[in-house]
């Protein structure tokens, strides 16, 4: 059954068309990654899905009762706002202790429940935000460049965690990422966005497509290297 269906979506910000004629369908349980250069409208698309931005044209059909877990690209916590991890996890709804512990464990941060948010590292904070998004048992998990600032190892761990979460919760995942080779490996489907969708499909198909190569300025060698990279290191492959 289809989870989300976007059709003919146009969205303008400050008088400029940022998204144009977007069509995108999401099935339950699939991992879809949006790639695209800076300013190509990736964050804008995610914000329109959660309802924070209203499109000028087109429609976003959500399956009734769909719950979204959202991890924003950047979250600046004002220094004047005292906040512990466990309080953040209870916003906006109270949750029983064991649910919070499970979510923190799923996201890979167990020791930090009573820490101040301001004492966390960037990676820890991202994982706490992921845990918070998981608490609502989402049907759709939306991640906007969630691995920003993580090192290679941290990134690989993070995507493995996402895969595990998908298997445990059965949720679909829609994420934005710049780490092309990792993304390629971790997704069922890749969508290239540059104001409008220029190509989409399985990671192999997208990696081989001329639109994708043109967008990232790759020549044939680079694309081939990316593709090989994907197949050459099974140790990073996600266990089914």
């Amino acid at each position: 059954m289809r989870l989300l269906s976007i059709a003919e979506l146009d969205l303008a910000l400050g008088g400029h068309l940022v998204l144009e004629d977007i069509h995108l369908d999401l099935e339950r349980g699939e991992i879809v990654t949006i790639v695209g250069p800076n300013g190509s409208g990736k964050t804008t698309l995610l914000k329109s899905i959660i309802g924070a931005l209203v499109p000028q044209r087109g429609c976003i059909d959500k399956s009734p009762g769909m719950v979204i877990g959202y991890v924003p690209q950047r979250l600046h916590l004002d220094a004047t706002l005292p906040m512990t991890v466990s309080r953040l996890m209870r916003l906006p709804r109270r949750r029983p202790r064991h649910e919070i512990d499970t979510a923190l464990e799923r996201a890979g941060v167990t020791q930090q429940a009573s820490s101040q948010i301001s004492d966390l590292s960037g990676g820890q904070f991202q994982r706490v935000l992921l845990a918070r998004a998981l608490l609502s048992s989402p049907d759709l998990l939306i991640l906007d460049e969630a691995t920003q600032g993580l090192d290679q190892q941290g990134m690989a761990d993070f995507y493995r965690q996402i895969e595990r979460v998908r298997q445990e919760l059965g949720c679909a995942v829609l994420m934005v990422s710049h780490e092309l080779h990792v993304v390629m490996r971790a997704s069922d489907r890749v969508v290239c966005l540059n104001r409008s969708i220029c190509c989409a499909g399985t990671p192999e198909r997208v990696a081989a497509s001329p639109e994708y190569r043109a967008m990232f300025g790759l020549d044939d060698e680079d694309a081939l290297a990316l593709y090989r990279h994907r197949h050459a290191r099974p140790s990073l492959e996600i266990a089914p």
């Binding site: 959660i50 924070a52 924003p72 004002d78 706002l81 005292p82 906040m83 953040l88 906006p92 709804r93």
Partner: protein
Amino acid sequence: MILDDFLVRATLAGLGVALAAAPLGCLVVWRRMAFFGDATAHAAILGVALALLLSTSIFAGVLVVSLLMATIVSLLSGKGYAMDTLLGVMAHSSLALGLVAVSFVSGVRIDLMAYLFGDILAVGKADLAVIWGGAALVMALMGWRWSRLLTATLNAELAHASGIDPQREQLILTLSLAIVVAVALKVVGVLLIAALLIIPAAAARTLSRTPESMVVVAAMIGVAAAVGGLQTAYWFDTPTGPTIVSLAAALFALASVLAYVWRTALRIMAARPERSA
């Protein structure tokens, strides 16, 4: 009756305002809206003037003008003017306009100082009813919307994803701000209302680990400042509103020093075992 004592009435008035100001002041501090509270308060003097000209209740006049000004600023912000510029223009022009308008009120002898600095010792039973009515309304609003307000304060998109409309929460906050300004006018006056919002919250920050504990500590500091300031002003015959705010400022300084000493002590204690090891 106990309410016949003007000191009791003044104390109760101060309590009401301090309690309502605590959650609101924290939200204003977290959202960096300090200047917004200030501007709303300045606009209140125009409300006083209009109420006197139209012979309506001061509370209603102040409420209407505060709400009007909050709405105008919300509508105009992001349309070419920076928020602080817009607030500066609105605040000072409505204060000036209010002072000019007051001069047209003939036949009525008004003590403008009472509105600029408040006159808590002159709080009557009707005033007390208005103050506690407004304060209770604001506290109920805050209690009802607290989770949503806090989530919207944290991040607008997170709020959206949880089904919360941050704009609606902003409106509720602005509304509450206008109510508290109207209610606090008699207690500390136009010039010091923002101080009563900001200073207890700022003092509470260093002593708190969660948003809620900050509100509770801010309330305690606000209440201490109001009650203590009232007594001090009474015994030393100083102006009451400014005395209350001065005491709040002293508590802020004390909290800052305490937090600094505490952190230093923790650092020294953390360093000691390393040396012995």
